[in-house]
């Protein structure tokens, strides 16, 4: 496994053999990518007035604003799906936190409940119980304000066939309440970073998968959210294409965003994520940094941990108590 340490320090975008140095692309971008905390709590509305995002009934206390360690707090989320035959506990009391400048790798085999967790945070699914909090905004109290703070990319997210990339970005800018001039600047800027310029005025139907995915990323970033949720952002992309995305995730991390990343590309995850949460059958079975996971499981890398995890049925005990379960459980 190659760890591209140079990439980490100096974000580069690799696309079609062209290596671009991001720091040289457009030098003055600091105003457009402000401190995420400030963004989150004092979001600029499109009419220019500054207004607290949070519901007036439940304002986050001042302590929250300054001492808030966690940008994302997931508290005891539960979701059961009912089919005609049985009930499936898709998510079972999952909790975790993510700090700014942290990439939380939400990993697990297919059907572990990762996507369901993300959809519940975004309010696309209604949790049976529990809640998500982003920047102190509760998903139950102000779902729309919460959505405004999140950029969401998923593998299944499509693009509008009959709109051009620019039109789509501008549409989402409007929807997220950005000002007109802001949108124009922001699109230009994102087009520069993500190298969209060649095709941004083209109809989306003609784009390649990699181009679509970069456009989706731009769409998620149009309102410069302090929180990013990436659900399989590299699905269907080739090595170079996914490398581009991961490099950009790294850049976002450096810019102070709190990021939740679901992926099956474990090598890249291992490189880019600060901490991991491993889900299996709706429960969180492991959590920690790579070092912590290594000590807990006795395994060197994520792939091995995964194999252990899938091979073993989780016991009925509380997941936190069986962190050491994978040691010697190869049977």
């Amino acid at each position: 496994m190659i760890v591209l340490s140079t990439f980490l320090r100096r974000p580069l975008i690799v696309d079609c053999g062209v290596v671009r140095d991001l720091s040289k692309c457009k030098p003055d971008r600091s105003t457009l990518l402000p401190d995420p905390l400030e963004l989150g709590f004092d979001f600029k509305r499109r009419n220019g007035t500054r207004k607290a995002l949070v519901d007036k009934k439940h304002p986050p206390s001042n302590r929250d604003l300054t001492d808030h360690q966690f940008m994302i707090r997931i508290h005891q989320l539960c979701k059961t799906f009912e089919t005609a035959l049985r009930k499936i506990k898709a998510v079972d009391h999952v909790s975790f936190e993510v700090k700014p400048s942290e990439v939380y790798g939400l990993l697990g085999p297919n059907g572990a409940g990762k996507t369901t967790v993300i959809r519940m945070i975004l309010g696309l699914l209604r949790p049976d119980s529990g809640y998500a909090e982003i920047g102190g905004i509760n998903s139950r109290e102000a779902p729309d304000d919460l959505k405004r703070m999140v950029g969401f990319v998923s593998a299944s997210a499509g693009v509008y066939q009959w709109l051009s990339g620019r039109e789509m970005l501008s549409f989402f800018g409007d929807i997220y309440g950005l000002e007109e001039t802001n949108i124009t600047n922001r699109i230009d800027e994102l087009a520069g970073i993500l190298d969209l310029e060649d095709f941004i005025d083209q109809g989306c139907a003609t784009l390649s998968t990699g181009q679509k995915q970069r456009l989706s990323l731009a769409r998620a970033l149009i309102h410069d959210p302090p929180v990013m949720m990436l659900d399989e952002p590299t699905l269907g992309l080739d090595v170079v294409g996914s490398q581009v995305i991961f490099n950009y995730i790294d850049l976002l991390k450096q810019r102070g965003k709190a990021i939740i990343l679901c992926t099956h590309r474990l090598e890249q995850a291992q490189r880019v994520c600060s901490r991991f949460g491993l889900l299996h059958q709706g429960r969180k079975v492991l959590e920690g940094t790579l070092e912590e996971l290594r000590t807990q499981t006795g395994r060197a890398d994520l792939v091995e941990m995964f194999v252990d995890l899938i091979g073993v049925e989780p016991s009925q005990n509380k997941p936190q108590k069986q962190l050491g379960m994978t040691t010697g459980s190869n049977s």
Binding site: A84, P127, W162, I175, Y176, S216
Partner: protein, 784 residues
């Protein structure tokens, strides 16, 4: 794009909401209109379909009314008669026939146009041929064989004076296609005689007449031309022509074949549907399939906003389609002169506009229905599969409405699609009746709103977004846990069910005989029974099915005494206000429609209600009390203030819930009489407001039941005992307005009572429960 953005202003949240919806609609439209498939249905269809259709119309449907060429072997059955012997009449006809033969022979020889150009020129030797220049004495070659067949192709019979029937009677009975009566007396020297044609109002008969007429015209024209050309003879037709159509002519004179007024709306509506179908599928199921819906849902817009913008986009496209189709269709009708062929004049601009409005209304209704169906589908194909039965189903009412006997009244006025089609037909015919038209429009709006509400429920549900096990019936599924109030969609379903049920009940009641007191009694009791069935039993069953606790779902808890007091006060004080409002309405109607119309309307009202009132007075008072006061009060409160208001209070602000309930209450009352009475809308809605406020504050239906029962009792028993009361000098007669002092007293009392309600405290126990329940449902329900 930038010019479409509104100018910056210190906007508030609602405007932002509207802006976002506008922005969404714009995006949906841009996406839809760039799609080739939309363009096909939107522009190409109207451009191509109407000319094609009109050609079909011309060659196929109208073939019956187009004059048949003479060589076509249609044989008419004809009789002839005249004031003379058979021989005389035959002779006249024979001459007539001979001339025709000559003309036709001449036409073949010289060509028709030549005859015209030579009219003033020197006399042509051919023209002065003695054989034909003197029509007064055509040469008859002693034709005694009487192989006589005027206009040879057809079968002729002579009717004698001594015959059993006159020629007219033959025609009227349908024994022959037409009859000809030759008047030989008093003819001018240049005349053969006068010919009278008898026809019926049926296409063949008309054709026969046209055929004879054309021959006569031929002879006349030829003769005039001849005489003008050759000599200076007096002008005038050879045969004077009279025609009489026997029997009752049908509505549209001369058409008799196809009701254009019915088929135009049907085609327009079907075409509008085709315009709406594609965007409806594409913007719901299509977006879901392409994965863009999830992204949109993750954006900070309420789901209802997303759905509503999609609805608006579909409606806009459907409206475009409607406009193009109307223009296309009317242009075709105008260009092909179809309107003339069908009788009836050219459609005016006002008819087109009215048709457009109707189409937009229908488009709104159908777009909402389409969104309900397509919201279920996860892919384009699935949506198409779902839509096929919907479109087939919508053809049914379309064909039904083609029947000429259908009128916009009774159940048809509330039957979706049929009502709009019939209304459109009436608009084209110019025979719109105000009340059924109003009912049709209002009911369509109600259905549309219900459908949008349902679509929003389906569209926003978790299962529709991601799971794949949702079926159509699952909206009707029982909740697993018991609920405090009836769920919103179940209450809406109930409302939609009650509207047609109510109509059927009214229809049934109005068919019941009511000639004797016993029958009237039965009818009143049945009325009570139906009320009980629709407004009490159905909601209760639905609540049961939804596992709603009856007590909390219908507000059966015992209220505070203050509300009971207020209810009694309002019960005795509202009726003068309501009555004066009804009178006020009459005045308003008088201003709008003119004093004459007002008087006529009032007269008609008194006329129609008088026998009813008479009957009412002969029924025992306890039956009146049960079926006009107690049962309506209990049942209507049970549904409106019980189920509906309490459900609405869970999801909308109290005043909105109260207002909505009151308007629905008023709307239901407009049609709950055997006569549809618009004048009841406003007073009943006002009473509904008071009832709603009372039920909201007291958190119980019982004060409302008391108020309702007392109020109804006052109104009905004042009529019941009117004659007795009128003998007392202080009670006003039928024609007199209600005394102002009564209204003043009622008003004062009502104000005091409403203040009492205002002061009375809403039970807080329940309010706290409400909030905890919301939290509970979100947090704790599935933990067990």
């Amino acid at each position: 794009m930038s010019d479409e953005l509104p100018v910056k202003s210190p906007a508030t949240l609602p405007r932002r909401g509207a802006f976002k919806i506008g922005r969404l609609v714009l995006k949906e439209l841009r996406e839809t209109l760039r799609d080739r498939r939309t363009i096909v249905t939107l522009i190409l269809m109207p451009l191509l379909v109407y000319p094609a259709l009109s050609l079909v119309f011309k060659s196929f449907l109208l073939s019956g009314t187009i004059p048949v060429p003479s060589d076509k072997p249609i044989e008419f059955q004809l009789v002839y008669a005249g004031n003379g012997t058979e021989g005389q009449v035959q002779e006249a006809l024979f001459r007539f026939n001979q001339i025709i033969e000559v003309i036709e022979a001449e036409g073949v020889r010289n060509g028709k146009s030549e005859a015209g150009t030579r009219s003033n020129g020197p006399v042509d030797p051919n023209e002065t041929d003695p054989e034909k220049n003197d029509l007064g004495e055509p040469e008859i070659e002693g034709n005694a064989s009487f192989e006589f067949l005027p206009f040879k192709e057809h079968e002729w019979r002579f009717v004698d004076d001594s015959a059993e029937f006159t020629p007219a009677q033959f025609v009227e009975a349908g024994a022959v296609d037409a009859a000809v009566y030759f008047d030989l007396e008093g003819r001018q020297p240049w005349e053969l005689g006068k010919l009278k044609i008898f026809t019926r109002d049926d296409p063949v008969s008309q054709l026969a007449a046209k055929y004879i007429e054309s021959k006569i015209n031929l002879v006349n024209e030829f003769d005039i031309e001849q005489r003008l050309r050759s000599r200076n003879l007096p002008t005038g037709p050879v045969i004077g022509l009279l025609q009489e159509t026997l029997g009752q002519p049908t509505e549209d004179e001369g058409s008799g074949t196809f009701p254009l007024a019915s088929i135009v709306p049907l085609i327009l509506i079907l075409m509008t549907i085709t315009g709406a179908v594609y965007p409806a599928i594409d913007l719901t199921a299509g977006e879901r399939e392409r994965g863009t819906l999830e992204t949109l849902m993750a954006a900070p817009i309420p789901r209802f906003g997303i759905l509503f913008s999609k609805f608006l986009a579909v409606l806009t496209v459907a409206t475009f389609t409607a406009v193009l189709n109307i223009v296309g269709m009317f242009a075709t009708i105008w260009a092909f002169q179809l309107d003339k062929q069908f009788g009836g004049g050219l459609f005016g601009i006002d008819v087109m506009l009215k048709m457009l409005l109707l189409l937009i209304l229908f488009a709104a209704f159908f777009s909402a229905i389409l969104l309900v169906v397509t919201s279920f589908a996860k892919s384009f194909k699935e949506a198409q599969v779902y839509l096929i039965p919907v479109i087939l189903l919508s053809l049914g009412p379309g064909l039904i409405s083609l029947a000429p006997a259908m009128t916009l009244s009774g159940p048809y006025a509330v039957c979706p699609m049929i009502n709009i089609l019939l209304l459109a037909r009436d608009v084209i015919n110019g025979s719109v009746e105000l009340v059924p038209a109003f009912v049709a429009v209002v009911s369509t709006i109600v259905y549309s709103l219900a459908a949008i509400g349902l679509a929003a429920r389906i569209f926003g549900s978790d299962a529709m977004l991601f799971a794949d096990n949702r079926s159509l019936l699952e909206v009707l599924q029982r909740p697993r846990k018991s609920t405090k109030t009836v769920p919103f969609d179940a209450a809406m379903l109930c409302l939609v069910l009650l509207l047609p049920m109510n109509f059927l009940a009214i229809g049934f009641l109005s068919r019941m005989p009511s000639d004797t007191v016993g029958q009237v009694q039965l009818r009143f009791l049945m009325m009570g029974f139906f009320l009980f069935l629709t407004f009490l039993v159905v909601p209760t069953l639905i609540a049961r099915h939804q596992r709603t606790e009856t007590g909390s779902g219908f507000g059966l808890n015992f209220p505070r005494a203050i509300f009971l007091v207020a209810a009694v006060m309002l019960g005795v004080s509202l009726w003068p206000i309501v009555m004066s409002l009804t009178e006020l309405w009459q005045h308003v109607y008088g201003w709008v429609a003119g004093a004459e119309a007002q008087a006529e309307w009032k007269e008609r009202l008194i006329e129609t209600t008088k026998p009813q009132v008479e009957m009412v007075r002969r029924v025992p008072w306890w039956i009146i009390a049960i079926s006009f006061s107690i049962i309506p009060a209990l049942c209507e409160e049970w549904f409106f203030r019980g189920m509906l208001l309490r459900t609405l209070l869970k999801s909308v602000k109290p005043w909105r819930a109260i207002l909505l309930t009151a308007v629905l209450f008023g709307a239901f009352h407009m049609i709950s009489n055997s006569v549809i009475a618009i004048d009841r809308l406003i007073p009943t809605t006002l009473v509904g407001l008071v009832l709603g406020y009372l039920a909201y504050k007291s958190d119980s239906i019982w004060p409302g039941v008391i108020l309702h029962a007392l109020h109804n009792a006052f109104v009905i028993f004042l009529a019941y005992f009117q004659e007795t009361l009128m003998q007392q000098s202080w009670f006003p007669g039928e024609e007199e307005p209600i005394p102002t002092s009564w209204v003043a007293i009622g008003f004062t009392l009502a104000i005091v009572a409403v203040l009492l309600v205002f002061v009375g405290k809403r039970p807080m126990v329940d309010a706290v429960e409400d909030e905890s329940e919301i939290l509970e449902s979100e947090t704790a329900t599935a933990i067990d």
